[in-house]
Symmetry: C2
Subunit: 195 residues, 2 copies
DNA sequence: TTATTAACATACTATATGGTATGTTAATTC
DNA sequence: GAATTAACATACCATATAGTATGTTAATAA
């Protein structure tokens, strides 16, 4: 990896950390460069604006941080219920970077920026769609092997599960990590209600 | 109502509108006073800081805006399933102020400020607890008249419903109002799965 | 080796920001 | 009716902010 490439990565990593904790609009470029060895000239050499850096954040860092955790956990067993349950526990409990206090960077950015910036909204939607499709495929597989009635709409269930994840990430900020456990119990009830 | 009281209300109403759409940290006091007939002197006569105004927002305006809508819809029928369903449709579809694009002011503020300001977190949690208790009481009532097994934990169900609401408010920002309908169908499935 | 360009570094600007200092006016109290 | 205070209004300040202008240095191509 070239030195220039390393600089770009350093900017994006630090931006990710700061934006994850303080939000996009409240994270200044001055703060980013003050906490790295990157100067303002370097920043604006790699990104023509703060928005362009934000877009790179969504498609590069954010996606690379969340996608592998999701993708590997959805296939661990043959039971779609266990797989969906594990997917959420892996994200909520086991993920090495995300915390209950600060929630999920993707959920946070949707909340803050989706209504304010159409570019952000579309990029975030793209990440969401990819996750949605992964869950849908798992539902379809489950229906194929008779674990679930074909009456259910895979898309609806996929979106419903993602909705739950977004909700619990928000609630966790107020109620603390203990709520994650309470929620997972109720999520298990929901999965078992799917016949 | 005194003239001073009216000024206070005007500050809070405009702050509510701006913060609802742009977030707390990105709404400046200059912007609030520029879009009202209030001056900076008046603002700081009524509130000693931006944070104090934010606290008043949460306990006064935000609560008064959301609480009546919730409280009246939870009692409309004798079937707790219909009541919970109506509660969410009233909030999501019928509320005269909230929109799909900007979501729910309370959910938004939790997302943005709960990790950054303990005063905010506690005030927001208090509003949440009040809603939670209302739903719990309705569940307990339903259990009392045999609409629902006593095995279920009313607190868990209440929090789960609120979690769904928080989630759908977030997802709606990306997917648009059409998703509210899709979600409500799946929410109905969940309610009917509660035996 | 020289010319060129990629990859920065530094200094600066215009505007925005939360908050303060110091006024002024209208209402209330005595 | 005078004194007091509540309820503002105006001017100002230090700092923060996204972005620019103009350098400099190290790598690469000719």
């Amino acid at each position: 990896m070239s030195k220039a490439e390393l600089t770009r990565i350093e900017i994006l990593r630090k931006s990710f950390d700061l934006i994850y904790k303080n939000g996009y609009q409240s994270t200044s470029i001055d703060e980013i460069i003050a906490t790295t060895k990157v100067t303002k000239g370097a920043f604006y050499y790699h990104f023509k604006s703060k928005e362009e850096m934000g877009m790179a954040l969504i498609s590069d860092v954010m996606h690379k941080e969340l996608w592998p955790a999701v993708k590997k956990s959805i296939n661990t067993t043959k039971d779609f219920r266990k797989n969906l349950y594990k997917m959420l526990t892996d994200l909520l409990i086991e993920h090495p970077v995300l915390t209950c206090e600060y929630g999920c960077p993707s959920v946070n950015l949707i909340q803050e920026m989706a209504p304010l910036n159409e570019h952000f909204r579309k990029a975030l939607k793209k990440n969401l769609s990819e996750w949605q499709k992964l869950i849908e495929d798992e539902i379809v597989r489950a229906q194929g092997v008779g674990q679930l009635s074909a009456d259910h709409d895979p898309q609806n269930i996929a979106l419903y599960v993602i909705t739950l994840y977004h909700g619990v990430r928000n609630m966790g900020k107020v109620l603390g990590k203990g709520y994650y456990m309470t929620f997972l119990k109720e999520f298990d009830n929901y999965l078992n209600s799917l016949k």
